[in-house]
Symmetry: C2
């Protein structure tokens, strides 16, 4: 109780009306753009300028933002720093999110040390690997490798928010299940398999091969005639 009354007083309007994944991914993109503008530096931007600069659609920008409040000033545009802050809050990265990565192979190690994660909101707490030879070592940046048996304890103790699967395809389902059992509620999967998802645990998959195959398809159709003006992001 005492939870949902003050409805539109200054942007705390809750989504509640089912925001699509496409929308939230665009919010991240806007955030990226704003970071750039802030570094220029530039303090104000209109949806049109954003659209032109970064190949977006101005109406879509406005509509996406409108889902979460009224962040702009009519006749003026958006305050870069302010909008950035609002987007970070909307995406839930105003506080740090704790991450564990399963699989201390090439990919897992690279992700663990990826600066794009550590700077700004994501905190890789541990790598996990079933290979005893790897356990106890650390990544270049010092993230420790723990054994699978430690997962439940770490997940609780460090209140892990997100699990990343960077294990071979054959192990992915089992490790996913273990993460779910350990109470992790969001998983990002890099293994090239379809995970059997557990309801209530958010699953997203990034299949690196799919992207290459998609490019290959385009190349093939290019060779065979119509190249068109494709670009896409």
């Amino acid at each position: 109780m005492a939870h949902g009354s003050r409805s539109n007083r200054h942007g705390s309007t809750p989504p509640r009306d089912a925001i699509s994944e496409l929308t939230t991914e665009r919010l991240s993109i806007y955030l990226r753009c704003l970071n750039y503008l802030e570094s220029i530096p530039q303090s104000t931007v209109s949806s049109q300028e954003l659209a032109k600069r970064f190949h977006l659609n101005s109406a879509q920008i406005r509509k996406d933002l409108a889902n979460f409040g009224e962040f702009g000033i009519r006749g003026v545009g958006y305050n870069v720093a302010l909008l950035k802050e609002r987007l970070q809050k909307t995406l839930g990265i105003d506080r740090s999110r704790r991450v564990v990565i399963a699989g201390a192979g090439n990919l897992g190690m690279a992700l663990a040390d990826y600066r794009g994660f550590s700077t700004g909101g994501f905190d890789v707490v541990a790598l996990m690997d079933s290979d005893p030879a790897k356990v106890g070592r650390t990544s270049k940046s010092g993230i420790p490798v723990i054994p699978p048996t430690e997962l439940p304890r770490i997940a609780k103790a460090e209140s892990i928010d997100i699990g990343i699967l960077a294990v071979p395809a054959e192990q992915a389902q089992d490790v996913y299940d273990a993460m779910v059992d350990a109470g992790i509620r969001a998983v990002l999967n890099f293994a090239p398999v379809r995970i059997n998802p557990h309801g209530n645990v958010k699953l997203k998959s990034v299949d690196l091969r799919i992207n290459l195959e998609s490019l290959s398809f385009w190349l093939k159709n290019c060779d065979e005639g119509d190249c068109g003006e494709e670009t896409e992001e």
Copy 2:
């Protein structure tokens, strides 16, 4: 001429009618599923079984496949090995695609050695890095690091199909432009920036942060009330 007459004789029907990216990405997924079935082994599969097993929609599978020919047998289903072969051909990975990776940092190195690429259709020919200290060395699996000045020559000599950007955000645009100049016609970008695309060069971006942010958004909205039955791939 002598190009488009024998229309539907055994599946060589050309797309020509603009296949969406979503469709081609699903083709890759189907291919992944077929590989699994082949390993079971299982020789025949219906769209319904595929759908049930891998959380897909049977009508969509049939519709996607129908874009490229009639691969199934009514009353029976699809031959796993045959369909797999057809999909590989459709995606243009029946022959090997040659890849160069820009950026010999953690991510670039991990991608270069990623087994998911090398096994089956993609051939990482070289890493490229502007750091002289890295040039001349190799990745764990032996892929050589070349300097940027070598790119045009390698691109021609090795007939590179695909460039991968694994460089820091600040360099991404320049390296992309260099790849375009070198005649590379498809680029996969891992840098968290919006690349200004060159027409006629296919660009796809994979932003690792976006995926984490998307999970974070979901977690946040979970905490604040409606969790729903989300899952998604």
